[in-house]
């Protein structure tokens, strides 16, 4: 994989490709802005939920694909964001906006704590720990109905006291959240932080030896992706105006993971598109009922086995000859890259 990356970097030219990329982004944003003119209410609802999934799958891909932490608690953090604002609204009558900010902060604080706890875990332990965390949270929400309304469902105020049926403002808000989060994450992964995260993913000890503050960046990645999930969840809560502990079942996490993996877990944009396309695809294939998810499950396994880069990443590469790694030109980047193949051999033996 790292050899592939190196080949790309050595390809000549960079300027026209960048223009092409930005042009593509601009076209997509314009299309997204125009969507409400040709979609009716239900279609917009599908798009809003698709954007929500896209935020989750792309932020999970930052955590898993870039930082190498395959957490199963990502959906739990979206629930933390949603339930925080919901409970503040129910018990203290806090307005949705303040609630959403509190939800994001709460997800960040819990993410910081969990991120610090799982820091030294091997992948299997990390997966087990985050499943346990997610499951405890679900049991707590179900078990304390006087706080969370449990299985009856927690009612939330609609955002900005908007009419629930008016989809257009919600559509634009969710689009803004998605685009904003993607820009933030793209900036992160193309900065030095992203470089450090990939170095840590490839070989933690080698990265530490080269002076990367492993603890700080791993915990940071966990906290920031948790906050993004929390933001998406808090908005989702005020949009749907009802929450239930079912949003935390592990198959939800499975869906988010399949979106990221089928899109391409090592590319934020591909993961986001994976989320949108799969959610829209699930809607279009509604007549097939639950068999849709069976097909996605099978597709997920086949992708994992034969196409680790997902379906969309190779397509993007074809179009733009571009991976998120394309910007790696700094000296440290080269150093981390050189270290990577060695590291891979070592882990292949040891793991």
């Amino acid at each position: 994989m790292s050899t592939k990356r190196r080949n790309q970097r050595s390809l000549p030219g960079g300027f026209p490709r960048q223009v092409l990329q930005w042009a593509a982004v601009a076209i997509l944003v314009i299309i997204a802005l125009l969507v409400p003119t040709f979609l009716e209410s239900y279609g917009l609802h599908v798009m809003i939920i698709a954007f929500w999934y896209a935020v989750l799958s792309s932020s999970w891909s930052l955590l898993a694909g870039y930082a190498g932490q395959f957490s199963f608690a990502h959906v739990a953090f979206t629930a933390i964001g949603a339930y925080t604002t919901g409970m503040l609204g129910m018990h203290f009558d806090w307005p949705p906006l303040v609630g959403i900010v509190s939800g994001v902060l709460m997800a960040g604080v819990v993410g910081l704590a969990i991120g610090a706890l799982v820091l030294r875990f091997k992948p299997a332990y990390l997966a087990l720990f985050t499943i346990a965390f997610s499951e405890i949270l679900r049991l707590l929400i179900r078990g304390e109905p006087q706080l969370t309304r449990g299985d009856h469902g927690l009612r939330l105020d609609p955002l900005l006291r908007l009419d629930v049926t008016s989809r257009v403002p919600h559509y634009y808000i969710m689009l803004a959240i998605l685009v904003g989060c993607l820009f933030l994450m793209h900036w992160l992964v193309s900065s030095r932080i992203g470089l450090f995260l990939r170095a840590i993913r490839e070989d933690e000890e080698a990265a530490a030896a080269r002076g990367v503050d492993v603890v700080r960046y791993k915990v940071f990645a966990f906290a920031i992706t948790s906050m993004i999930a929390g933001l998406a969840g808090a908005f989702y809560g005020h949009y749907t105006t009802i929450l239930s502990p079912n949003m935390l079942v592990l198959t939800q996490m499975g869906l988010v993971m399949s979106m990221a993996i089928i899109g391409g877990v090592e590319n934020l944009i591909a993961a986001a598109f994976g989320g949108i396309l799969i959610q829209v695809g699930l809607e279009l294939l509604r007549e097939f009922g639950p068999w849709r998810l069976v097909i996605f499950g099978a597709l997920l396994m086949i992708m994992l086995r034969f196409a680790r880069n997902g379906l969309l990443t190779p397509l993007f590469r074809l179009l733009f000859d571009h991976g998120p790694q394309a910007e790696m030109q700094e000296g440290t980047g080269a150093a981390a890259e050189e270290a990577a193949p060695v590291a891979e051999e070592v882990t292949a033996d040891g793991a």
Partner: protein
């Protein structure tokens, strides 16, 4: 005192069944070095196999379907292992640890939705093994659960004999201790991988078939037993057979005692799994190698 004794007995009875399921997970972990995140779904499929088998053959004694359900689990496990896990050990996958987590989780997603699509979300319950209840101190235990526990005990004992006394058991232990050395003496690690995964999946399916008459089966029924098995193997020490048996008994007791003594009985049942989860997180944080785990290299 009587109350304590009866609660403990029910705990042990459940604990043996938990141990059976955890043993399958341990077998897989100690040979293949991966956690099977679809373990609960093999449990679920075992339950469905019992239900479907008994609807197809109404004359059969319900207990006789259990080995058949186990066999179905073995076959499914074998197919999955050959298709998706064998490539890991042929060095055809990069980042094998993450791949193993994701692909087994993908399998669980697939199985859950497969059963949801084909049989729907409704609970299915195969007929009882034996109707009636048995008094244990102050509590009544159903004949079904007692049968399930007895069957599990026999199966655990058989497994221990196989692992400790037979050639194949010796080969399995050799591979779990040192793959290279095992290869030197002519043990094919790839075969042992398939055997371990198939048997592990089969044990989960047996546990599912055994408990199906007591708890009935739904497509998402596997989540609780699989999480419980993760707790048990981490508590007992990943890869330790002794640890997973003892861990199963401990978790059975803890669930039963904590539920029995929790101040608010309506909430106690909802938190049944949570008690084990708290132990789990503590073990992971304070003593990650569990009771009998090998020291981390």
């Amino acid at each position: 005192m009587d109350y304590l004794l009866s609660i403990s007995t029910t705990g042990v009875i459940m604990g043996i069944i938990y141990a059976l399921m955890a043993l399958g997970l341990t077998l897989i972990y100690s040979i293949l070095g991966i956690v099977n995140f679809a373990h609960g779904e093999f449990y679920m499929l075992g339950g469905y196999a019992a239900y479907l088998g008994l609807s197809a053959l109404p004359g059969l004694h319900p207990l006789l379907i259990v080995p058949l359900a186990g066999l179905a689990g073995v076959l499914l496990g074998l197919i999955f292992e050959l298709l998706f896990l064998r490539p890991i050990h042929q060095d055809r996958i990069d980042r094998p640890a993450e791949y193993a987590i994701l692909v087994t989780f993908g399998l669980s997603f697939f199985f859950i939705n497969l059963m949801l699509a084909s049989l729907g979300p409704y609970p299915r319950r195969p007929p009882s093994f034996f109707s009636g209840t048995v008094d244990v101190g102050l509590m009544k235990i159903s004949g079904d659960r007692l049968t399930a526990s007895g069957f599990s005990l026999a199966l655990v004992a058989t497994l221990l004999v196989i692992i400790n006394k037979t050639w194949i058991g010796k080969a399995l232990r050799a591979v779990s201790q040192d793959k290279q050395a095992a290869a030197v003496v002519g043990i094919d690690a790839l075969t042992m991988n398939s055997v371990a995964f198939a048997v592990g999946a089969g044990l989960a399916a047996v546990a599912g078939a055994l408990l199906a008459p007591s708890f009935s089966v739904t497509p998402d029924v596997g989540a609780q037993p699989s999480i419980r098995s993760y707790i048990i193997i981490v508590l007992g020490g990943m890869g330790s057979i002794k640890g997973s048996i003892l861990g199963g008994l401990i978790i059975g007791l803890v669930e039963s005692l904590a539920t029995g003594y929790f101040p608010d009985p309506t909430r106690a049942l909802k938190y049944k799994t949570a008690f084990g989860l708290v132990i789990f997180m503590l073990v992971l944080l304070l003593r990650p190698r569990g009771l009998f785990g090998r020291k981390e290299e």
